[in-house]
């Protein structure tokens, strides 16, 4: 079974792959627009890292921190979120920390590991509730954590060990890639 790396090597050897954006590639995007919102602070990033690592911890493979999830959040915050999303996200970080202070008398980062886990489990339950609108912000936090982790090099190659060729040699045969081209 080919994995992605051998596939790329094969394609490069054939001189037929276009892995890198060349001068004739896509038309130039418009300049990145700044929303005027300040970037994430080191304190905010530390909180993000601790929460993300709680969601996907280090085991026999790296966890969220080892896979660069905090940096992914920084990219999303600085270059992807719209201004209202930035404001809401920043407020949610403050709210997580405030709740830790209310419950345990100290900020999330200073809490004992068991207390941190208790908070995360409670937030996760709230985030998973589909019957409240707007959803608890932890749902989006968890979604971005999982996205940042499983699309990372660590997530793809070490954790999931993804294969590229849709398991042509697998007795289960190839399956669909999402549903984008079903119709």
């Amino acid at each position: 079974m080919l994995n992605r790396r051998t596939m790329l090597k094969a394609a490069s050897a054939a001189g037929s792959t276009g892995l890198f954006v060349g001068p004739a590639a896509a038309s130039a995007p418009p300049p990145a627009t700044s929303t005027g919102e300040a970037p994430l602070t080191p304190d905010e990033l530390a909180l993000i890292a601790a929460m993300a690592e709680g969601i996907i911890p280090k085991t026999d493979t790296p966890g969220a921190i080892g896979a660069g999830v905090p940096a992914f959040f920084r990219t999303i915050f600085d270059e992807w979120f719209l201004k209202d999303q930035q404001i809401a996200f920043r407020a949610s970080l403050q709210a997580y920390d405030n709740e830790a202070k209310d419950r345990f008398g100290k900020g999330f980062l200073a809490c004992a590991a068991a207390d941190q886990m208790q908070l995360l489990v409670e937030w996760d339950k709230k985030g998973a509730n589909l019957f409240v609108s707007p959803a608890h912000p932890f749902r989006e936090f968890k979604r971005l954590t999982l996205h940042g982790y499983y699309t990372s090099e660590v997530g793809q190659n070490e954790e999931l060990k993804t294969v590229m060729d849709a398991a042509q040699d697998d007795p289960n045969g190839p399956v669909m890639y999402g549903l984008a081209s079903m119709f």
Binding site: A25, R143, L160, A167, G173, S181
Partner: protein, 561 residues
Amino acid sequence: MENDFDAIVVGSGISGGWAAKELTERGLRVLMLDRGRMVRHGEDYPTEHQAPYEMKFRGLGDNRRNQIEYPGRSPSGNEGSSHFFANMRDHPYTTAPDRPFKWTRGNQVGGKSLMWARQSYRYAPINFEENAIDGHGVDWPVRYSDIEPWYDRVEQFIGISGSVLDYPTAPGGRYFQPPMPMNPLERDMQARMAKAFPDRPLTIARLANLTQPIGEDRQPCHYCGACDRGCSTGSYFSTQSSTLPAAMATKRLTVMADSIATRILTDESGERATGVEVMDAKTREKRTYSAKIVFVCASALESVRLLLLSANEKHPRGLGNSSGLVGKYIMDHLLSDFAMTTVAGPPMPHLTGGRPGALWMPRYRNIRGEKREDYVRGFQCNAVVFNDDWQRGARTPGIGVDLKTKLRTTGDWHVLIGALCEMLPSLGNQVTLDTDVRDAWGQPVLRMDVAFGENDLAMRKAASDDMLTMMKAMGYKDVMMTPGRPIPGAQIHEMGGAVMGKDKRTSVLDGHNRCHDIPNLFVTDGAAMASSSQSNPSLTYMAFTARAAAFAAGEFKAGRL
């Protein structure tokens, strides 16, 4: 460069590429224009085979850029393919009040052939007869037997993998490559369908993706799963992989990218097209190119727009529009609600790719003497059995080691089936020029005035009911319906606007895709379709284009054009 050609082809996508190939192979010197940039095969597929971590937003797309380029609507394409889609900022259009329309375009050499969904079905014999039978739209000037040899020619040349069926709405397949495999749960679904409904054949989609090589430059599909980024192994049909190399090999083709056709020109009598006025998309300078034949293959609605923009003294309502029907009978398809359930199945490896198509079942309604009372015509079905990947983690509670362990294996399997419904040709569904709004090059845009009609919605409801009934009859439990609200244009099968017919008073084009009013002007893309059928239409555009080009070349050689 020279300014005079035997033929000019406006557009380089699925239809334009075929026009260029057929005309050059028959000896004509051809200029092919595209308003968008050059895309070189292989070299200009910058995201091909990129892993998610090689993309800045890991496949989530550029959210801020999308807000600018697609204000008020969802963007076209994804982070790996957005560079092949025309945005709304430079290419706006307007809609009639309360009549939304989604228009998706690919403005580059190759057009949407680079990112089409590649499902390739013929119109069935009945599709060419129903306009005459039930009186909707205008009677096709051709029948299936007229187009059949051209379907054969196209299927053989582009390469289609799929199953041959002995079924009245699934003709074709003499030159098919072996079908792609189905997974065990799909084979089980196929067997369940055969047992519950012996007269409804469920099988793998017919795809313009190869399972066998064609020559040296087109290799079988390697299942990387992201066709819409371009394919340097030529494993699916695109202009770049298929028709363009054939046309270039004749040394009679000139390709001009970044060249916007702004007007088709006619002589003083108004009875002959003499060439095309072209604006350089970068410098905005205009030049004129002359030819004895003009093929308009700009994609259905852009072709209509060009005819309307070409109005002159002799053709005050637009070229070929003595009937007043240019821009009328706009169609698309509409999806039914989907029926879906969860089934047990084996875990799978985590895939970065996958098979490029799903399952298909040809139209089974209103054929073989059945006559439904609630709607005329019919729908085809698509189905798939797929399994959940790590993204399910965001939808269910759980964190920590337990979550990580769970997501290491793939999740539940899901069975899904839905229908693609025919949309009737209706005079009230039209596009016109909106001179109040201009695109980035100062050209008036199109105003869409299109909505689904009573028959369309009645069929959709009946098809949705059929999906649920079939799932239950196949023995699936806990079937859920996923309701949708289709929008015209959203299936990206927009067609009509310059329909073929026998009578110049009731149609724009004749049986050879030639303007009734201007015999050396041809329109061969989706604009020409007199009905939408139940099937994905690109293969039919190719067949009509090849047929029209052969006819035009014959007339040219006989000195009649």
